[in-house]
Symmetry: C2
Subunit: 133 residues, 2 copies
């Protein structure tokens, strides 16, 4: 927590109670704003969704977490990993899991085949989880 406080302070941000709770509820499993609020509710903590949105935006800015879009158009957030990775989402129950892949070759190919200066990418998989198939 001390580390986060420093990182926030570097941008003039403060480490408040809601921010501590929101950070504590984050995970390596991607979660939506609604899921985070539910999680907090179970701990009897009530934080307005606007605060959650704003806090997550700050965390993304500080690269403490990563934001991803899924088919359903809602954003999901997870603790930033040092190692870049990807997701699989279950088409039935919506569960999201991480996958580690080495896509160096693919990026190289993309850079060759495009007139754009490529800076980042999103790679997501869809299918059925163990339970659902």
């Amino acid at each position: 927590m001390v580390e986060i406080k420093k990182q926030l302070a570097a941008k003039g941000y403060r480490l408040t109670k809601p921010r501590q709770e929101i950070f504590a509820s984050l995970d390596h499993e991607p979660q939506s704003v609604l899921q985070i609020i539910e999680k907090l509710k179970k701990k009897n903590i009530k934080i307005d969704k606007v605060t959650v949105y704003r806090t997550l935006a700050s965390f993304v800015e500080l690269k403490l977490i990563e934001e991803t879009q899924f088919k359903n158009k809602i954003s999901v957030y997870e603790l930033a990993d040092h190692q870049h990775h990807h997701h699989v989402q279950c088409e039935k129950c919506g569960k999201i899991e991480d996958i580690c892949l080495d896509e160096k070759l693919l990026i190289q190919a993309a850079k060759k085949n495009s007139s754009f200066q490529i800076k980042s990418h999103h790679l997501e998989f869809f299918g059925l989880c163990k339970k659902c198939h």
Copy 2:
């Protein structure tokens, strides 16, 4: 057009004037609903956005077109290609371009590394187009 009519008919759908116009305005360059409406407006054709949404949904169902989500959370639609491909989006102006890539190896790796039964994927790149960098 005759082909489309057949494909629509197979599902009990009709080939109406709005549907013909919407289909004609589609492209291999991904477009949003708003962009399609603008395009039609330039040809002095007024079609309600609801109709555009519903028509595109039918076309997606018939696999005549493909829908993709971008960072901005809006859906873009393009003519379905026989060959699977991907996109690069300019971070500044939002322009979207296609990229062709062979990602067989990547898919294989994903299938190995996941407990999910993988069925599809989305791969999108982001960067700067020629004009913007």
